[in-house]
Structure formats: structure tokens, C-alpha cells
Amino acid sequence: MAIAIAIAAATFMVPFGGTASAATTVNTPAGNPTDAQTITVTGSGFPVRSALPSGLEIIECADPGGTTTNLPTDAATSCDGTTVSGGQINTDASGNFTAQYPIELLNSGNSSINCDATDFCVLWVGQDFNGAFLSGPHGFSSAFEIQSVAPVLGEAPLAISLPVIAAAIVGVYVFLRRRRAQPSVTV
């Protein structure tokens, strides 16, 4: 289901250098990653290395519903700085890059955003997530959800787990009442 909703790689026209626009693409492996899985991220259309001495940054951001209309517009409210790529990511002479990136599951226990099995996220790739989130060179990956390595019921969101538990209690109650209501049979 999650895969079906995932959108195609986003392409955006972003200004660079104040003179021209460049189309950027960001590609990630198909399907949903798992927590702590390292994936290969590739892209093109970014400034060439000599114009980008600080390299590229990759960061996880919330994308509610996994739709292009809900793509993040601001890092401070939609992204998590603990997921920013740690090493130098240089582009080549054509503005392409390849990087290894560790996916991180995010929820209220470690973040101000949710990136998990029920909350879509995207990878933002660009030069400066805090200073030029949309105004600088950047691109977004397809939306994805993050699967826990070992799901635990206690970690499920309240809105899901409570009704499931309630339904189970009601089911047991109905079953017991039906058994009690059946007439006893004597031989």
C-alpha cells in the first residue's frame, strides 16, 4: 500500500547563481526502507563541485500523506537535523552525485516529526537546509515510509492501538455472552 502511494521522483526548477535554472532529480531505491538501513541516493542537476565547495546535504523531512502538495517548505518545522548526512557529498563536474545515506526512524521519542511505518517522509537534498531550503539548489526524493526492524505493539500510535484493543475486548465479551445464552442440553 505504502509503495503504491509513493510518488515518482520529484523534479523541481530551482534557481542557482541567479542566472539560470536547473532541473534536479533525486533517486532512491524502490520500496520502503527499514530503520537504520543504509541506502544509495543519487541525483543530478545540482551545481558542479567547483561551485559547491561545501557539498550537498541530505536530510529527512515529513511529507504528510506522501503527496507532492504536502512536500515540506521549511526545515525547522518539517525536518530533523539529526538525520543530516554526516560526510562530505561532492558533486562531479556535471552536477551529479552518489551518496550512502542511513535511514532513521523518527517519532516523538527522538524527534519533532514522524517518519515511520504510517507517516510518509522524503529526503531533501541541497546545499543549505537551514538557510536556503527552497531558495537554493535542492531536490526531493520520492515519498517513503520506514518500517521498524522489529515492530512492537506498544510503539503503535494510540489512534490505532486503542481501537484494536477495544475491538478485541468487545469480541471476547460477545463470544462469552453467546456461549452463556445458549440453552443447556440435558440427556
Binding site: A36, R49, S50, P53, S54, G55, A75, A76, T77, C79, D80, G81, T82, T83, V84, G86, G87, Q88, A93, P102, E104, G109, N110, S111, S112, Q127, D128, F129, N130, G131, L158, A159, L162, P163, A166, A167, V170, G171, V174, R177
Partner: protein
Amino acid sequence: MRHRILRNRLAAAASLIIAVFTMATMLDAGVASANPSPPTLGTSPHWYLGKPEQIRDAGSDTTYFLMQRLSDLYMQSGLYGCQLNLATTPNYNACLTGSSAVIATSDVTDNYDHIEVDTGLGKIGSGDGQKQLCGNETAPFGGGQVNGGAASSTPDFARSSKPVDTTQPCQANEVALGFGKDGVPAVDFQGAEGPGTATGTSCTGCSTGGQPWSGQVVGPVAAGWLPGNAVTCDTSTGPSSNPKNTVNGCSGVPVTDISNVGGSSSEAFNIYCNTGAGKITDWAQLTNITGSEVPGQGATIAGHPLPILIAAVNTGSGTESTYSGFVGCSTTNVNQSNLVCNGSQALENNSAQFGDCAAADFPSAGDPTSVADQAAEVASMLYYMSNGVYNSNIHSRLLTLSTGPSTTVQYAAIKMTENGITATTANPSGTLMQNTFPTARTLFNIYRTDTVRASTADFLNWICDSNSAFTKGNDLSTGQNYNNEITAAVQTTYGFIRLNTLTASPNNSCQLITSVHDATS
């Protein structure tokens, strides 16, 4: 008949599920009430006083900007604090009492007292903040005395990017609340290619005749550049003539790691601390290695010195203290360069300043090679930075040189690994949270148990609590819960990792203050 019973039961079950779901949703969202009840004064975790106060902190520059942000968030929540009393003298220096203290929009879970927080400057640095907290250095602006506290001319708490200094006289009464996680990676400037021949003419920090490069070409030495290589060898995909270099076309090996393994015989010690035999002074000793050689064993190039220039950093800072602990001496400035910034101490966590320093060290007036000299200085530098500042502030890791009347070039500081370990920020699995990165450190707010005021305790508890002991309100200017805004400020805007009351050991020092000295005043 049986079908009808079944239908009824299914309907009842469905109703129950819907009811439970609705209740859960309502609980999740919170329910607006008419007028909230006035909170209880003088009790943990809020420690409300029923009156406004000012508090002041001092110390760390690493956490200065973050604490400014947290102070702002806390103070703006006070816009919706208690209703203040006009009838007091001076006016409005206490909350109204009883039900008149609150109205429908009163925020009774955040800054109810209208506390004002001054993120102090004064003598900057974690060490100085702690000294001021203990009264071992007098502060220019008191916190406690001005506001009726017990200790005169001391801040209410110290910002510190290092643990409690056990040599301070009040250390027995100090408690450090670790609210953030960080690291201090070394950085070099591998992409500083420069335009070629560095003559050193007009050097302001060089002794007479002692310009450092003997009028030779200097390329990106940290990327493995050696004499004879093109200065663009760092951008070439190679292959390198050196089998140990699989990264670029330079014939040396890029310097991407610094090691303190071996203590006083380590690479780090020999660069930063050693003043005698075995001292590492030349980039070729790190990069000009082959076979089984390790950094430090490389041969220098006769007649072509490539000096390692160590930028001096303000002592007293927690960042300098952390890194000096890694390299193994009391300060990282033992072998500092007298060329960089003309030998002056640079501020921590800011590479941008070195563009200005290089321009001052090699003034352009009448010197046609000044840009080459400036680039050579940058290429030859070693520095270190807060990982959070590096990650979150691109300006802090970029420096700019003027190459003409209207042209510039930018070079970037590149993070290095320590003992082969990369600083990673994943929570809780990263090397900073796991304390496996050698310079992983905790960012603290330190208070004194013998003087802490209720207003200070309220603010510090507000930072530490993670909607656990109490639930913060929503920021009415953004719609976000203040707890989320604290996390976002710590982690995204400023690049650290938030620690709070629920953080697991050993990073669990951000615990609530449960005793104060003026709760009933």
C-alpha cells in the same frame, strides 16, 4: 432471530469502538476549556512564584545561540501568562490572585510568571561561565543580586559545553543538566586549491625571512597534494600514482582522520602537543606515505616546506577543552601558528573568520601573489568545530577570499574522523549518543543547589521535561507544541541532539529540579 441478535451485538460493538476511538482522539488533541484554573504556586515541576522575575545565564558560546532561541520561546509563552496586577508597586510585579489571575487564553503550563531570561554574554566560554557561577570571577551583570537572589554578581546558571569543573570552589553544590549532545571533529580544508605560487610577501605574522613556503607552489595539501602535482589534483578522479590514495589524483594520501591512539606517541599528540622529538610539523609527514607507513611517518620534501598551521582557539571554551582532552595536552594552542590570524586566538566554531584572517595576514596591496598566499594559509590550516554548528550552519564552515575587484572564491572546512570513527547523530544509535566518537560531549546548563531560584528552576525544568511530568502548551504564534519547538530548535536549527527527562543512561542528566530556595517568597 439469531441474525437480528447478531446485528444488534455488532452494532453495539461498533458503537463502543467508535466511542473509545473518539475519546482517544479527544484526549490526544486536548480539549479547550473556558477559563483554566490558576496553577498551584511553589511546587515542582513548575515552581511558579506568582510574580515576574529576570534570570541570567552566562558561559558557553557553543550553546549561546540555541539558548537564545529557547529563552525566546519560553518568554513568548509568557505573553499568555498570568494576569498581572496593576495595583502593586511597581505596577504589574505580581500576578492577580485566584480566578482573576487567569482568563480563557491564559497558558498555565509554560511561562505563567512572565519570567524574562537574559542569555548573557560577558566573558564568553564554558569555563568562565562556571567561574562566574561560583563567584570565582565576578560577572559584569549580576543575576542573583539584582533579582534578590542569595549570591551577588553571579549568573543564575552557567551555559557549559563541558562538565562541571571540579576545581571551582562551589563545585560540590553544582548540578549539570545535559540537554544536548554534540561532538568536536577536526576539520581541514581539502578543497583549498589556490592559484599556485605562494611567495609569502607581505606576511604580517612571519618572522623576517621566515615566510613559510620558500616561494613555492602550494596546492591542497590536506587532499594529498605534493609538489609536482597539479593544484587541481583533488578534483581529479585519479587514479593516483600512490596506491594508498583511492580518492583523487594527488600523489599523497588525503588527511581525513586524526588519531590519538597511542597517547603521547600518537599522531594527534605529535601534532598538537609535542614540542620535542617526534613533533609533526609538515603536511608531507601526514600525506607522503606509502606501503605500511602511517600518518606521521611520511618524508618531508627537501627545499619545499609544507607547514601545518594550527589555528589557535579561545581557551576557556568547552570546545577547546574537549579537543585538548582528545589530543592530550592542557590546551590545543601549544603548537599554534603565529601566522594564522597573526597569532591571535580565533573564536571557536567558525571557519568563516579565517577568510578575514588570511586577508589580513597577506594584505593584497601591492602584492600580486597575495591570493596565492592566502589560499596557501587556508589550505595548510587545522581547526576543529562543534559538530552541531558545522551541520546546521553552512556559513560556519565556508570561508571566502577575494580574488579580484568583484570576484571571490569559497573554500569549505571538511570534517575529519577521529580514530576512524565518524560523528553520527542518529538518536539513539549514532556515535555521539553512544559516546563512541572520541570527542562526543554533552551540552549542559549548570545550576547551584544552594542558590537556585524558582524562576530558574522553572525555566530549566521546562527545557528538560519532554511532555512527561507536565504537558507544554501550544505556541499560539505557530500552532506547534512548545515541546516540539524545543526539539526542533536543538536538533534542526542548531544541529545538536536533544536530551530530556526520558533519555536513557548515560545521557540522562537532564532531570527536574525538585528543590529551590525561594518557592514561597
